[in-house]
């Protein structure tokens, strides 16, 4: 898509910064407490000047719950994807560089991980660990590294025969040093793109798991569990359904656009393709 002024990148950056700023400055942006301000006298109020997103069926301010929910979603999204990226890069680098039985093993494991849909796998892990932030980080951080690993491995396999890597080897550099100083800097681009898109996926997965009651436990606000509550009262309080979902949508859209934008930026030829 021929877009003026790198629209993807700009819009993605704008949306992501908006969500991050909202999460960081949540206490300054709203006077209502997301949990304690339950006021049944004031429940099911439509959006107003005092309650921008209205109040839910327990009288809590939806706007402040969405803001505080951003803290949970972003933390989980970013940390889980950081774990995924670290695993993917470490396995992909070492497998692509060393080859042999280690490569076979990593490749087999990657294919195994690809065969199990990551949400299914995460759900199974959540079943064992029980709800909570730490469980979510483990479940989402261990189940979505296969693409990072594949891409890293492929890139390393084509890079390692290049002159400068051979040169580093003749200079007596150790394997780890070559991987970290010669190979890693050259695959940062695609890995960064994968990571950005991965944050969006993790935010979606967290919302889904919390929606199913296996993620963040109420009353702590999370976009997913807000939707669980709201679903019961969707007929009388539709705004309580619309806004948390919109928050997930805007956040994931931001990361997706950012990822696409970074890819276009790194490789202008890809603009036509994706």
């Amino acid at each position: 898509m021929r877009m003026p002024f790198r629209l993807n990148l700009t819009l993605g950056l704008a949306l992501v910064s908006m969500v991050i700023l909202g999460a960081v400055f949540a206490p300054l942006l709203t006077a209502h407490d997301p949990i304690l301000d339950a006021d049944l006298m004031n429940s099911e109020m439509p959006p107003s000047w005092d309650h921008w997103f209205g109040t839910d069926s327990q009288g809590r301010d939806v706007f402040s719950r969405v803001l505080y929910g951003a803290r949970v979603s972003l933390t989980i999204g970013i940390v889980a994807q950081a774990i995924n990226s670290t695993i993917g890069i470490a396995l992909g680098l070492s497998a692509g560089y060393w080859g042999g039985w280690w490569d076979d093993l990593v490749n087999g494991l990657t294919n195994l991980m690809l065969a199990i849909p990551s949400l299914v796998f995460a759900l199974a892990i959540m079943a064992v660990l029980g709800p909570g932030v730490v469980s979510l980080l483990i479940a989402l951080g261990l189940t979505n590294w296969s693409w990072s690993c594949r891409i890293t491995r492929g890139a390393v396999m084509s890079l390692k025969s290049q002159g400068y890597v051979q040169a580093a080897r003749t200079l007596g550099y150790g394997d780890i040093r070559i991987m970290l100083t010669q190979l890693l800097p050259n695959i940062v681009g695609p890995v960064l793109v994968m990571a950005t898109l991965g944050i969006g996926e993790a935010v979606l997965a967290e919302a889904a798991l919390s929606f199913l009651g296996l993620g963040i436990r109420p009353p702590a606000p999370s976009w997913g569990n807000m939707l669980t509550d709201a679903r019961e009262a969707i007929r009388s309080v539709p705004w309580a359904t619309i806004f948390p979902g919109l928050a997930v949508f805007v956040t994931v859209l931001g990361f997706n656009l950012l990822g696409d934008g970074v890819r276009d930026w790194l490789d202008p030829r890809m603009q036509v393709r994706a």
């Binding site: 660990l129 679903r231 539709p238 979902g245």
Partner: protein
């Protein structure tokens, strides 16, 4: 061809066993006991005798390697064990859920294919046009939207407000009940297919053999029919396969939301009560589906691309 498919199907067995082992380990090694959750999440203390009795009944008192071996032996006999809760064979529980699950996944995919691919094609034919921009914005939005939120909105508008369609349930397989969950589930693959198709068409249109076709004097429609369609299919069949393959798993939340009696809602319900044999069984079936679709994709791939030979 037949031998190739047979070999590929046999090659799935180690993968399935590995998945079985992985899932088995996760449920056995990590903390948390079934007997505890079975009786109310450990809020009421159970007498140790009762716990031991429950464990013995399900063979949970034996050492881990023995249990794993027993599990594998039963698995190769197509015995997935017995549900902790209903005491029915897991196989029967799954069999009852497979058809609704497939019905939902395949309708979602049919929607994605019949709308997504033509849309991507039209967008690519006029790059930079209004249709192109709308399609691409819609595609990235579709990929960013939580499917269950889309489901909730569809439910709100078409079931609760307009009253055109039922808001949940299987309805003995009536089409009316299928429409909303299928749209909610199919939207993301639709968006992805539109995007991949567009990228594929642009890639093919930029290739040298299209210039040859133009030099031959082919009209745009002849060119598309003879030199573009098939070449684009080669580029999107993998994406399509991955989507179909993972759709059973992706349907978890939608099935739960619409109370659709498929594998996904069976798994979610079983997870909630830690009915581990059922969870293991559903995961295995979901993985099996993915692997079978993969073999199918490779066969189709080889059928449309002469450069790929089935070895």
């Amino acid at each position: 061809m037949g031998r190739y498919i047979l070999r590929r199907l046999l090659q799935m067995i180690p993968t399935l066993l590995a998945v079985a082992a992985l899932i088995f380990l996760i449920f056995s090694v990590l903390p948390g006991s079934f007997a505890g959750t079975m009786t109310g999440g450990g809020r009421r203390a159970l007498s140790p005798e009762l716990v031991a009795q429950i464990n013995a009944q399900f063979g949970l008192d034996k050492p881990l390697p023995v249990r794993f071996w027993d599990y594998l032996v039963r698995l190769v006999q197509f015995d997935l064990g017995t549900s902790f809760r209903t005491r029915e064979p897991v196989m029967d529980l799954i069999a009852a859920r497979i058809w609704p699950s497939l019905q939902l996944a395949l309708s979602a995919m049919a929607l994605a294919v019949t709308v997504g691919i033509p849309l991507g094609f039209l967008a690519a034919m006029r790059p930079g046009s209004l249709l192109d921009s709308i399609t691409m914005i819609g595609a990235v939005s579709g990929l960013s939207m939580p499917q269950f939120w889309l489901g909730l909105l569809l439910m709100y508008v078409f079931a609760l407000q307009l009253g055109w369609l039922p808001s949940f349930g299987y309805g003995e397989g009536r089409l009316r009940n299928l429409i909303l969950p299928a749209i909610a589930l199919g939207f993301a693959p639709l968006a992805l297919l539109a995007r991949t198709t567009r990228a594929g068409v642009l890639e093919v249109m930029a290739s040298d053999h299209i210039r040859t076709a133009m030099a031959k004097g082919a009209s745009p429609s002849q060119m598309v029919r003879w030199h573009v369609l098939r070449n684009v299919m080669v580029l999107i069949v993998t994406t399509m396969g991955l989507q179909i393959g993972s759709l059973l798993g992706q349907a978890l939340v939608i099935e739960k939301l619409f109370s659709w009696p498929g594998l996904g809602s069976l798994m979610v319900d079983s997870v909630a009560i830690r009915d581990i044999p059922v969870v293991q069984g559903t995961i295995l079936v979901i993985v099996l589906w993915f692997l079978v679709i993969n073999v199918l994709v490779d066969v189709i791939y080889a059928a449309i691309d002469p450069r790929i030979s089935l070895r």
